[in-house]
Amino acid sequence: MKKNAFLFFGLLALLFTSAACVTVRPQERAVLADPVMQFEGDPIIANQLHHAIDNREGSFGGSGVAGGGCGCN
């Protein structure tokens, strides 16, 4: 278990440090700023969808932590 944890965090640290080598220059960021490249492109609609799905599944996570109530019965 400890060995797996070391391996996991080691790989994570390696991956994160490699991010420092990435140089996407400011003038190259136009596409990354495009709406189709956003992780939550339409947050309000995405929130409604997550709310509807999360209340009908046994799992949740990966899409924010704020919320209250169910509205599902």
Binding site: A20, V22, V24, R56, S59, A66, G69
Partner: protein, 417 residues
């Protein structure tokens, strides 16, 4: 409520008047309307969800928002859960259990507000919400910290939220064993001085960390870890479960639940295609022994400068909670009692689902002239999705609940001034 709305409006007017630049965008208005409809057997659950959010930027570094959302629910819910073993010895039970689905209506109102302060590459934010429905009240606050590193190519964010929730329940005999507890007959009298009703607490702590990374000018990823710890009454107070010959009791689930999820997303822009492909993976496990996995794929393409269309697909599969059974009164596995807990919740049963949908977006951004002469930006989004739920073991008194379809329609409108 009207007083709160007037305070909110005043705050936005003040925020707008504090704007230092006449040309800067001051206020953003977002409204969305969602419809959810599903028809497993006779439940015909229908939910209409409107929302509106106002965001103001009184200065370049400060953003405040306030909003309202609601769920207007109507349909029917199964009040007594039985399984095939029980139904086999009670042949007249089957129609009773299904038709015993009680009609329900509910109106969940949520008021929310918050702020974000940005300084150089770092942002801090906070917010809160109050949610109220017939049988459930929730007060929640959340805080957020975000920083950007390596020439904005790396973004790290931490979110934390705490909920103080209350759920209505019928007053139980304090000496009664769980198998003798009775279900809440209706929400009438909840959160009043009705002596036959009481409230049960739920506290929820949620923590999320995310790492977004731009790897190339057309490829970026996001890794997210979410942890949630829930303590309190987590059963459906209305539902009874048949647990033996002539014995039914209110659902009884553990008071504590720890939930963890890891999600990975990758967005890849396809220049020749003039669009993007978005892939999402999520793994989940909790202390009730539910494991789940999810794969999402979305492809979105521009058709001209202002219109784009997307198609999306999602596959989801989960195992059941360790104490879940389709029939606690007996029978061979997967039926039979599973320890001290019992539930009739299909969301805790093993199942898989497939979702497919389309999304259409019209977006306009002001250039030399404002959009329609008065807006900095305008966006209209329409999305439709279909979900096919397939419950592997869940039945209503032995009647399978397969091929349960849910239909989702969402419309969004945004305008910046």
């Amino acid at each position: 409520m009207q007083l709160k709305l007037s305070h909110l409006a005043s705050a936005f007017l003040i925020a707008a008047s504090l704007s230092t630049s006449a040309n800067a965008q001051v206020v953003q208005v977002d409204t969305a309307h969602g419809i959810y409809y599903e028809a497993p057997l006779r439940s015909h659950m229908f939910v209409y969800s409107p929302s509106v959010t106002l965001t103001a930027n009184p200065t370049d570094s400060v953003s405040i928002y306030g909003g309202w959302e609601a769920d207007i629910v109507s349909g029917a819910s199964v009040s007594t859960k039985a399984g095939p073993a029980y139904a086999a010895t009670h042949p007249s039970l089957t129609p009773d259990v299904i038709s015993a689905a009680t009609n329900l209506t509910d109106f969940r109102n949520v008021g929310k507000g918050g702020f974000t302060i940005k300084h150089d590459n770092t942002s801090f934010g906070g917010g809160g919400l109050y949610s109220s429905e017939n049988d459930y009240h929730s007060i929640s606050f959340n805080v957020m910290a975000r920083t950007e590193l390596f020439e904005h190519n790396t973004q790290l964010q931490l979110d934390y939220a705490h909920n103080f929730d209350d759920v209505c329940d019928t007053v139980q005999n304090p000496n009664a064993l769980p198998v003798a507890r009775v279900a809440l007959p209706s929400s009438k009298g909840c959160f009043t001085d009705d002596k036959t009703k009481t409230t049960r607490d739920i506290s929820i702590d949620s923590l999320q960390g995310s790492w977004s990374q731009a790897w190339t000018p057309v490829f970026q990823t996001q890794a997210i870890y979410t942890l949630s710890v829930i303590h309190g009454f987590q059963s459906d107070p209305y539902r009874s479960v048949l647990i033996g010959e002539g014995v039914k009791a209110q659902e009884y689930t553990p008071l504590d639940r720890m939930r963890q999820a890891v999600a990975l997303r990758a967005n890849w822009y396809l220049r020749g295609f003039k669009g993007a492909m978005r892939l999402g993976l999520r793994g989940y496990r909790d202390s009730w022994n539910i494991y789940s996995g999810e794969v999402n794929l979305e492809i979105e393409k521009y058709f001209g400068p202002s219109f784009r269309a997307a198609i999306n697909g999602r596959f989801y599969k989960q195992s059941g909670a360790i104490f879940w059974s389709d029939d606690y009164s007996g029978g061979n596995a997967p039926l039979g009692p599973k320890g001290q807990y019992f539930t009739g919740d299909r969301e805790l049963s093993p199942f898989w689902s497939v979702m497919a949908g389309v999304k259409l977006t019209w977006a306009f951004v002001a250039g030399d002239k404002k959009v329609l002469g008065f807006m900095n930006n305008f966006r209209f989004v329409a999305a439709a999705n279909l979900i096919d739920f397939n419950y592997e073991n869940f039945t209503l008194a032995g009647t399978p609940v397969n091929g349960t379809f849910a239909y989702l329609l969402n419309l969004g409108l945004s305008a910046g001034f």
